[in-house]
């Protein structure tokens, strides 16, 4: 990405503090802290109904958290989802929500909405500025389609794409808003191992563009391959946070997923080699240090 949304390695991009979401008497998310540094891929896992998507919706302004606040690069996020996108957080949806009767290219162009300014008048008058902006948007959109490998399908209706490509298109559409943080809600749901591999590569490539990624996923191999840090959400509360080894070896996580061990026969947590949980401490420091008021555009 070429814009100012990208930041140096290590700066806090997203900082959620004490986020609580209550629906009537039900507390879906309870006092969750999470931060994402730039250049980082953070995973969010948890059993079904743990509140992962609700937490996502709190981050993107679809829900207004009952308590707590979410900061993006130091500024508190506005409670409207389109303003959140404008601020620099883009997302995909758990159940694909493309504009199914628009073409692939048009879908990505819609993603460019916040980064272009042409209103009704310029559309009606069609001045040189309008044409230039349209051309630029199209060029940028084609770049992104190239990036996810859909450039040859630009004029297909998005509904006619195969499932895996729809997922990719959704990512391209989210990237079109030039985000500093990308939230992926189960990007590999329903994919076969091969497609999952491809998605993994794609997420790494996005990270390399300087965009921080927060990803919800149930595919543990995917998560542990991908993420620098993993947070586990169970019944609305954050249980553990740390690198993959820490999380995998944590008995509470295993218990949350598989139920309390009946006897002392731990089922999981023995497959992967243990590694040192050292880099975690550094993260904690950064969260404490208030990041500079780097206001985005």
């Amino acid at each position: 990405m070429t814009t100012d949304t990208t930041t140096q390695q290590g700066e806090t991009v997203l900082d959620a503090r004490g986020v609580t979401m209550r629906f009537g008497g039900l507390t879906a998310v309870k006092n969750v802290d999470l931060h994402v540094n730039s250049g980082e891929i953070v995973g969010l896992i948890g059993p079904n109904g743990a509140g992962k998507t609700t937490f996502f919706n709190c981050l993107t302004g679809l829900y207004v958290p009952t308590e707590g606040e979410v900061r993006y690069k130091g500024t508190v996020l506005p409670p409207k989802s389109f303003k959140v996108t404008a601020a620099g957080i883009a997302r995909t949806f758990q159940n694909i929500r493309l504009f199914s009767n628009m073409t692939v290219l048009e879908n990505v162009l819609v993603g460019r909405h916040t980064r272009t300014k042409e209103g009704l008048w310029s559309a009606l008058l069609r001045g040189p500025g309008f044409k230039k902006a349209e051309k630029e948007s199209e060029a940028r959109a084609m770049e992104l389609l190239e990036f996810v490998g859909l450039a040859h399908k630009r004029d297909h209706l998005s509904r006619n794409l195969p499932y895996g490509e729809q997922r990719k298109l959704e990512i391209a559409r989210a990237l079109a808003s030039e985000p500093g943080l990308l939230l992926l809600d189960e990007p590999t749901a329903g994919m076969n191992p091969q497609e999952t591999r491809v998605t993994e590569e794609l997420v790494f490539a996005i990270r390399d563009m300087g965009i921080a990624v927060l990803v919800i996923e149930h595919d543990m191999r995917f998560i542990f391959n991908l993420c620098d840090r993993v947070a586990v959400l169970v019944q609305g509360e954050k249980l553990v946070e740390g690198d993959s080894a820490t999380v995998q070896s944590d008995e509470r996580v295993v218990a949350a997923y598989l139920g309390e061990p009946y006897e002392d026969t731990a089922t999981a947590a023995d497959s992967d080699a243990p590694s040192s949980p050292a880099p975690q401490a550094q993260d904690e420091d950064q969260a404490a240090a208030e990041p500079g008021k780097e206001n985005d555009r």
Binding site: L62, T103, L124, E134, H156
Partner: protein, 609 residues
């Protein structure tokens, strides 16, 4: 019509178990010959006398010169014969059927049959007996029947039979069998794949477009000028079947591709063709119909931005037309206008448009927070509130603004740059009457609306509208300020309606609250506007224009329907929604939406919206 006539043939279809189906059991070569010869014979028979007296309108008594309904049969007979010859691969005619001749022959023959038999029956019924037919009447009846039998006997690819489950109940078996038969009939009329178009030089393509538009204008002018009910019904039937036959032959899709390639030229040429319309008329009465159609169509096109692009179901849209009309009438210098202002036209039309826009924003701001059905109900309410408010601001039950139910009367004619639109003028030796003058003025407004629709639809904001229509949550998550974008659509639609209203006030001399109801038997009302958009084709430009023309012409021409008009309208709406849910002219997007499995292409060209 189609279903009725073919239903008798279903039994025969079910009896023939051949893999290549045919609806009537005649060998294929004989059938083809019969169809072609029948078509030619029905063409010839139109030059005979069909009846002995000119008591039946249209004077069908002359040998050697067709009149009235005979022309329609002649055209359809000629189409049948031409398609028949083209199916023999006759050199020079093959271009007629790029998508295969047989379905086209079937439809053309069916059309000729229906029109001819309708005429013959109408003659017998009005004049009291078959006795009143001259030999020509019997000849045409026989000829069209022969052509139809031949056409139905042409072989087609029969869908695989799927026997009913014998364990099913009788009703289920019946349903299953009926479905099978229907599938066979549908297969008989299915279009083949379109042959690749030959390369033509650019000027030839433009000439073709021009020719097609000229034919279109001719057909439209003919339809507007039909003098009696029988002829208009015959016209509708033949136009419908003729259009369907051309579409099945592949000519309409091919023309569509041409116009898509030269969309600017087509638009300009269409306006030239429309501007030529008053010159084809000697009677200002038809120009009056023309200008009313234009007003209706323009407002429908404005509504298409709101409904077709942004997906906001607005049931009170006619109120914006009313606001524009009232605002323009108040400053028109009418003696019953309490303001007493007399602004020039350019100022009046701006006042009308701005008043509508303000009204649109005022109504839109609270209502657009609702979605779907709730929005529809609230807009319906606001539409009625407008009418009732206008009714009551008459000086007794409210302030004296609009003169209540009497409305603002005797709105003076416009004078633009010294050109009096109220008086007839001589142009190129043609007399251009009052309504023709307004027709030209309205055509300019229509052009503006078409331009606005095209440009706004194909832009950042247009994409945002479509995105909101498709999935509002996702659109918001993509950074679209949903409320604001919807409000722009709403206000833009209102403004365009206001433009049309300002002209309408001057065309009709008078504005009254009754002109702006939700449902009424006179077309520009919210229900008909929405129907014009939906029937014509949401999201297209030509669709609402065509839908509005049909919805205005049919009630105007078929006065005898009287009280059954709204009923017939409802039936027509149901049929269209069942048979062609994307509307008469399909937005390519919508076509894909409704016919997932069908032959629809998966690739959409750049000129999508």
């Amino acid at each position: 019509m189609t279903t009725h006539t073919t239903s008798t043939d279903m039994n025969t279809a079910a009896d023939t178990p051949s893999p290549t189906g045919r609806l009537v059991g005649i060998p294929a070569p004989a059938a083809r010959a019969l169809a072609t010869a029948g078509g030619a014979l029905s063409l010839v028979s139109c030059f005979l006398a069909w009846t002995w007296t000119d008591a039946f309108p249209g004077d069908l008594t002359v040998y050697g010169y067709p009149g009235g309904l005979q022309w329609l049969v002649l055209v359809l007979g000629a189409l049948t014969a031409l398609f028949g010859l083209a199916s023999y691969q006759v050199k020079g005619l093959r271009w007629l059927t790029p998508a295969g001749a047989d379905p086209a022959i079937r439809l053309a023959a069916l059309g000729a049959f229906v029109t001819a038999w309708y005429t013959v029956l109408a003659i017998s019924l009005t004049l009291g007996g078959v006795v009143n037919l001259e030999p020509g009447g019997f000849v045409v009846a026989a000829a069209t029947l022969i052509a139809l039998l031949g056409a139905l006997a042409l072989p087609f690819e029969r869908p695989k039979a799927d026997p009913a489950d014998p364990e099913d109940s009788g009703w289920d078996q019946f349903k299953h069998n009926a479905g099978q038969k229907w599938a066979v009939v549908k297969a008989a009329f299915a279009t083949g794949p379109l042959a690749p178009a030959p390369k033509l030089p650019g000027y030839a393509e433009i000439l073709l477009i021009t020719a097609a538009l000229a034919v279109g204008l001719g057909i439209f002018t003919y339809g507007i000028g039909t003098e009696y009910d029988e002829l208009f019904i015959g016209f509708l039937v033949s136009a419908g079947f003729g259009f369907a036959a051309l579409a099945k032959a592949g000519l309409i899709p091919r023309l569509g591709a041409l116009t898509a390639r030269h969309s600017n030229i087509t638009t300009c040429a269409a306006f030239v063709a429309a501007a030529a319309f008053p010159f084809t008329q000697t009677n200002d009465r038809f120009a009056n119909i023309g200008v009313n159609i234009l007003i209706f169509a323009t407002v429908a096109l404005g509504l298409n931005i709101v409904v077709g692009l942004a997906g906001l179901l607005d049931l009170g849209y006619v109120a914006f037309l009313g606001v524009g009309a009232y605002a323009a009438a108040l400053v028109s210098g009418s003696p019953s206008s309490p303001t007493g202002l007399h602004l020039p036209f350019w100022a009046a039309i701006i006042v009308g448009a701005i008043a509508s826009m303000i009204f649109g924003v005022l109504i839109g701001a609270p209502t657009l927070r609702l979605r779907g059905d709730y929005l529809a109900i609230v807009t319906l309410g606001f539409g009625e509130i407008f009418r009732i408010t206008v009714m009551n601001t008459d000086g007794t039950s409210g302030p004296d603004i609009t003169n209540g139910s009497n409305g603002i009367t005797s709105i003076p004619d416009l004078k633009i740059l010294g050109f009096d639109l109220g008086a007839p003028h001589e142009i190129f030796g043609f007399t251009i009457g009052r309504f023709a003058n307004y027709f030209f003025l309205m055509l300019l407004v229509t052009a503006v609306v078409v331009l606005v629709f095209r440009r706004s639809g194909n832009s950042r904001i247009g994409r945002a509208w479509v995105a909101i229509r498709e999935d509002e949550t996702a659109a918001l998550a993509m950074g679209i300020n949903g409320f604001r974008v919807k409000l722009v659509a709403f206000a833009l639609g209102a403004t365009l309606a206001g433009l049309a209203g300002a002209v309408q006030a001057h065309v009709t001399f008078v504005v009254t609250p009754e002109q702006y109801m939700f449902a009424n038997s006179v077309p520009p009302n919210s229900a008909f506007l929405l129907a014009a958009v939906v029937m014509g084709g949401m999201g297209t430009i030509a669709g609402p224009l065509l839908g509005a023309a049909l919805l205005y012409l049919i009630p105007t021409k078929l006065q005898f329907m009287g009280d059954y008009q709204l009923f017939a309208f409802g039936v027509a709406l149901i049929l269209i929604m069942r048979l062609r849910p994307e509307g008469i002219i399909a937005d390519r997007r919508r076509k894909l939406e409704f016919h997932e499995d069908a032959e629809a292409p998966t690739v959409l060209g750049k000129t999508g919206a």
